[in-house]
C-alpha cells in the first residue's frame, strides 16, 4: 500500500483548468487522433441564421424578432462536446517509489487524479491501468463516477509490483479508436521482450488513431544532486547494485548520465513516432519536489492541456 498525499489541486482548480483549455483549439491532432463529436452540450456558443434541418426548438424567437424579418430566424448554437476515453497507464514498479519525500509514483497519482477529475465532469470516461503486472483496469465512466475517484485511487494504490510482465491483456478492449492513452513511467524498466511488446502495442495504438502520450517522470537531476560526490553506499527499493560501496566522482556521474540516456532512448526509438508525444517532467535539481512544484508543472504543461481543447 502506497501512502498517498492529498491532491494539491482542488476540484475548482481543475474545473478552471478545463474551462481554460476548452476555450482553446487543439493546434493539430498529433498521432492521428480523431475527436468524436457526440450530441451537444448546454454551453451557449453563438447565434446563427436558421438553415434547413436545424432543430426548431433551438430557434430564439425573441432574438429573431429583434433581428428584423421572419425569414431570418436565429437559432442558438451550442458548444459541441467532444467526449473521449482517457486510458491512464501508471508504472508502479519499485523505482517509481523514489525519490523521497515526493516519489515519482506520488506525482503519477496526482497527475492521474487531476486528469480524471477534469475529464469526468465533461462526461468523458477514464480508465486506470497498471502498466506492469496482471491486474484488471479500473474504469470510471462519467461525471457520476466523480465520487468514486478516491475509492478507485485507493484500490489502485494497494497494488505495487516488481512484475516485469507488461499488463496488456486487460487493456485491449479499453483502447477503442480515438481513445487517449497516457503512459506515466520513469522509463527505467529493462528493454527486453516485455518492453518490446509494450512498444509494439504503442505503435499499433498510434496506427489505430489513438493518441498516445508518453509522460516520463525524470527524478535523476534531483537524485543526482542529492547523491553528491564522495563515498556512498547505494541501495534501491528492491535492488542493490554490486558493488554497492562506491566512491562517487564526476566521471562516474557522467557515466551514469550516459547509461540512463542510452537506456531510455532504446525504448523511445522503439515507439517512434509516439516518442514525439513524449512529455518530460523533470524534478528540480537543487530543491525538493513539493506539491507546489506539481501544481506549477501541471498548469504549465501544454501537451496535457491539449487533451481538453476543442478541435478546430
Amino acid at each position: 500500500m502506497i501512502h498517498l498525499e492529498k491532491l494539491p489541486l482542488t476540484q475548482e482548480d481543475l474545473d478552471q483548468y478545463r474551462f481554460k483549455a476548452q476555450k482553446k483549439s487543439r493546434p493539430s491532432l498529433l498521432g492521428g487522433h480523431v475527436g468524436r463529436r457526440k450530441g451537444q452540450s448546454l454551453a451557449f456558443r453563438e447565434y446563427a441564421p436558421y438553415q434547413f434541418g436545424d432543430d426548431l426548438r433551438h430557434v430564439d424567437w425573441r432574438a429573431s424578432a429583434r433581428y428584423r424579418g421572419s425569414k431570418d430566424w436565429l437559432v442558438r448554437r451550442f458548444v459541441a462536446e467532444e467526449q473521449f476515453k482517457l486510458v491512464i497507464s501508471i508504472d508502479t514498479r519499485p523505482t517509481m517509489n523514489l525519490p523521497t519525500p515526493i516519489s515519482k509514483l506520488q506525482v503519477a497519482f496526482w497527475l492521474a487524479e487531476s486528469l480524471t477529475r477534469i475529464a469526468l465532469p465533461a462526461e468523458n470516461s477514464v480508465v486506470w491501468h497498471h502498466l506492469f503486472g496482471h491486474t484488471e483496469v479500473q474504469e470510471l465512466r462519467d461525471s457520476r463516477a466523480l465520487k468514486r475517484v478516491p475509492q478507485t485511487i485507493h484500490q489502485f494504490a494497494t497494488i505495487t509490483n516488481s512484475d516485469r510482465q507488461v499488463n496488456l491483456d486487460s487493456l485491449q478492449k479499453h483502447l477503442p479508436p480515438a481513445a487517449i492513452w497516457l503512459i506515466i513511467t520513469d522509463l527505467y524498466f529493462n528493454f527486453d521482450k516485455q518492453s518490446e511488446r509494450l512498444a509494439q502495442r504503442i505503435r499499433e495504438a498510434q496506427d489505430g488513431s489513438r493518441w498516445v502520450i508518453l509522460l516520463e517522470l525524470d527524478s535523476w537531476p534531483y537524485e543526482k544532486d542529492k547523491l553528491g560526490l564522495g563515498p556512498r553506499e547505494l541501495k534501491g527499493i528492491d535492488f542493490i547494485p554490486e558493488p554497492n560501496r562506491l566512491q562517487i566522482g564526476k566521471e562516474m556521474i557522467a557515466e551514469v548520465d550516459r547509461r540512463i540516456e542510452k537506456h531510455k532512448s532504446q525504448f523511445l526509438e522503439a515507439v517512434e513516432p509516439a516518442g514525439s508525444n513524449r512529455v518530460h517532467w523533470k524534478w528540480p535539481a537543487s530543491t525538493s519536489y513539493t506539491s507546489a512544484t506539481f501544481k506549477k508543472q501541471f498548469n504549465a504543461d501544454k501537451k496535457l492541456q491539449q487533451l481538453f481543447m476543442r478541435d478546430k
Binding site: 523514489l98 537524485e223 563515498p231 547505494l234 527499493i237 554490486e242 554497492n244
Partner: protein, 560 residues
C-alpha cells in the same frame, strides 16, 4: 601503568583506523541499476578525516568491545597477581563460648564459665604469639540453646572485655548450633561472602564448653575446629524430673512425682524437702540409698492449690537443679452436681457430689438446659432399645464424644433418641433421625443415651465409653496448667513457673574430652580474592561483538 598505555594505544589505533577509512553514506536511488559494475571508475582515495569516527555508529561499539576485552585481560592478570600478593598468613579465630546453665557449675572453686574465660584468654595469647607478623582477627559468638554473635571483628582487648562480661544463662545446650556454624564455614561462597563482609577470614573455630567433643567433629574439614572441654568431673545431685499424675478423666492433679538423680559420687545423705503453699512441710525425706542408676523417685499428694517449693540439700556443683518451684492448680476430686437418682456411678468414681457444683452438672435429658455450668444430659434410651439393628444416618467425625467408638457395633444396639432443644448439634444420628449423641459448645453440654450399664457386651462398652468421653470433654473445657515450664531463649529468666531442668545440664560428672590444642592456633595461608569479574566482562564483550557484527550485516553502511 603499562596496561593503561597499552589500552590507550589500542583505542588510539582504532580511532586512527576509523579516521582513515572513508565513511560510506547510505543512499537510496531509483537509478541504482545504472551503477552496476562501475568498479572501473571507483575512486580508491583514502583521506584522513576527523569527521569519520564521529559519523561511524559502530566506532563506540568497537571501542567498548576493545575496552572490555582489555579490562578483562587486565583483570585476569591483576587477579592472579593480587591473589599471589594476598596469599598471606592469617589467624582468624571464631571463638564459640558455651553459656549454658551447666557453665555455672562450680569446679575447683570457680565456675566453669570462669574456667572457660581463662581458657579463652589463654587461646588469645597463643593466637597472638603464633600470629607474630601475620594478620589476626577474632570473632566472638556464644551458644546455649541459641547462637548469639557478639562481635565480628574484635581485637584482643575488646574480646577479653566481652568475654569477661559473659555469664551462664539458665538454658540447655544445643550442640547442633556449633555444627551449623562449622557447616556454614564449609560452604565456600557463603563463607567467603561472610568473611569479606566481616573482614575476618576464619581460619580456626575454637569452641570452649563443658561438653565433650562430639564424634561428628571428624566429619568437618572446612576449618580446623579446636574443641576445648574445660569441665572437671564434679559430683552433683539434682531434680531431673517433676511431673503430675492426673486423673485420666478430669485432668486434676492427684499426685506429684519427683525424680532426683546423683551424678558422680553421691553424698551420704541428701535431704529432700517439699513445702506447701502455706509453708507446711509436705515431704521431708533423707536419701541415703542410691542403688541402681543413682536415681531416687518418690511422690507426694498435694492437698491444696498453689506454689510448692522443692529443695535438695546438699545439691552439689550445679545449683539450678537444687531447688524448684512448681504451681499446682486443679486438684483432687471432681465435684459434681449429680441430679440423677442413681448415685452408684459418682460413688464408684469417687466424685464429690455437691449440689450447685460449678465443675459438672449431670441431669436427666428433659431438664432445663439453660445453665452455664458444663452439663451432661443423660437419656433413658438404653431402657427402650429397638429389637433390631438401626443404621447410622450421619455422625460428626471430629467430635470428642465419638473417640474410640465402634460405629458398626453401635448400629447393632437399636438405639432410640429423644427430642432435644435446637441448640444441640447431633453427633450421632440413627436412620430414623433419632439423636443418639449430641453436644453443645456454648454453654458446654452433652447428651448421652444413658448411664453406663456395666455389662460386658457392646451396649456396656458403648454406654461407658460415651459417658466418660462426654465427662472428659465437659471437664476439660478449662486448659490444664502444667506444673512448670522450661526456660527458653525467648524467656531465659527463671521465675514465673520457669525452671532450668534441661536435660543433661546437671550431669557435671562426665569426664572431659577435648579435641585440638591451643597450640593449633597457627597462621594459615589464606587467599584473599573477591568474586572474579573478568569473565562477566568477557561475556559482555562477546555480546557487543555479536551486536556489532549483526548491525554491520543488516544495519546499513553507518554501522560498518
Amino acid at each position: 601503568m603499562i596496561f593503561v598505555w597499552l589500552m590507550g594505544g589500542f583505542i588510539g589505533l582504532m580511532v586512527v583506523i576509523h579516521m582513515a577509512r572513508p565513511h560510506y553514506k547510505e543512499h537510496c536511488l531509483s537509478q541504482a541499476q545504472f551503477f552496476v559494475d562501475l568498479t572501473t571508475v571507483v575512486e580508491t582515495e583514502r583521506r584522513w578525516r576527523p569527521g569519520n569516527p564521529l559519523r561511524s555508529y559502530a566506532l563506540p561499539l568497537r571501542l567498548l568491545f576493545l575496552l572490555l576485552l582489555l579490562v578483562a585481560f587486565w583483570l585476569t592478570f591483576a587477579e592472579r597477581i593480587s591473589g599471589q600478593v594476598d596469599m598471606r598468613q592469617t589467624v582468624g579465630v571464631w571463638l564459640l563460648m558455651d553459656t549454658s546453665a551447666s557453665m555455672s557449675a562450680v569446679q575447683n572453686g570457680q565456675t566453669r564459665m570462669e574456667w572457660g574465660q581463662l581458657e579463652a584468654s589463654l587461646a588469645i595469647a597463643h593466637a597472638l604469639e603464633a600470629a607474630e607478623g601475620s594478620d589476626i582477627c577474632f570473632r566472638l559468638s556464644t551458644f546455649d540453646m541459641a547462637r548469639r554473635n557478639l562481635h565480628s571483628q574484635a581485637d584482643p582487648s575488646l574480646l577479653l572485655n566481652l568475654l569477661s562480661q559473659l555469664t551462664p544463662r539458665p538454658l540447655g545446650t544445643d550442640v547442633s548450633l556449633v555444627r551449623t556454624i562449622a557447616g556454614e564455614l564449609s560452604l565456600d561462597d557463603g563463607d567467603m561472602e561472610d568473611n569479606i563482609e566481616t573482614g575476618c577470614p576464619v581460619t580456626h573455630l575454637l569452641v570452649i564448653t563443658d561438653l565433650p567433643a562430639p564424634d561428628w567433629l571428624a566429619e568437618i574439614n572446612s576449618v580446623p575446629i579446636i574443641w576445648r572441654d574445660i569441665a572437671v568431673p564434679v559430683a552433683n545431685v539434682g531434680f531431673t524430673d517433676l511431673y503430675a499424675i492426673r486423673d485420666p478423666i478430669t485432668g486434676l492433679v492427684n499426685n506429684v512425682h519427683l525424680e532426683v538423680t546423683a551424678f558422680g559420687v553421691p553424698p551420704a545423705s541428701v535431704q529432700v524437702t517439699v513445702e506447701g503453699p502455706t509453708g507446711r512441710i509436705i515431704m521431708d525425706e533423707q536419701i541415703t540409698d542410691w542403688t541402681g542408676a543413682q536415681v531416687w523417685r518418690n511422690s507426694f499428694t498435694p492437698d491444696e492449690e498453689g506454689a510448692y517449693q522443692l529443695r535438695l540439700s546438699p545439691g552439689g556443683a550445679y545449683a539450678y537443679d537444687d531447688v524448684a518451684e512448681i504451681t499446682i492448680q486443679g486438684l483432687g476430686q471432681l465435684s459434681v452436681d449429680w441430679q440423677l437418682t442413681d448415685t452408684t456411678l459418682p460413688n464408684l468414681l469417687n466424685w464429690h457430689v455437691v449440689s450447685g457444683s460449678q465443675d459438672l452438672r449431670v441431669v436427666a435429658y428433659d431438664r432445663p438446659s439453660d445453665s452455664t455450668v458444663p452439663t451432661l444430659f443423660v437419656g433413658n434410651s438404653y431402657e427402650h432399645l429397638a429389637n433390631q439393628p438401626k443404621s447410622i444416618l450421619d455422625f460428626d467425625e471430629g467430635s470428642p464424644l465419638l473417640t474410640d467408638v465402634n460405629l458398626d457395633a453401635v448400629e447393632q444396639l437399636g438405639l432410640t433418641g429423644p427430642e432435644l432443644s435446637t441448640d444441640f448439634i447431633p453427633v450421632l444420628r440413627g436412620e430414623d433421625d433419632s439423636i443418639w449423641l449430641a453436644q453443645r459448645r456454648n454453654p458446654p453440654a452433652a447428651y448421652v443415651p444413658g448411664l453406663p450399664v456395666f455389662r460386658d457386651d457392646n451396649l456396656g462398652r458403648f454406654s461407658t465409653l460415651v459417658f466418660l468421653n462426654a465427662v472428659h470433654w465437659l471437664v476439660q473445657q478449662q486448659p490444664t496448667i502444667p506444673l512448670y515450664t522450661l526456660t527458653s531463649p525467648d524467656q531465659p529468666e527463671l521465675g514465673d513457673g520457669r525452671l532450668a531442668l534441661h536435660s543433661g545440664e546437671g550431669n557435671t560428672a562426665t569426664f572431659p574430652f577435648s579435641q585440638g590444642e591451643l597450640d593449633d592456633l597457627q597462621p594459615i595461608r589464606t587467599q584473599h580474592e573477591g568474586r572474579p569479574v573478568w569473565h562477566m566482562l568477557l561475556s559482555l564483550a562477546a555480546a557487543i561483538f555479536l551486536v556489532e557484527r549483526g548491525l554491520a550485516a543488516y544495519g546499513g553502511g553507518r554501522w560498518r
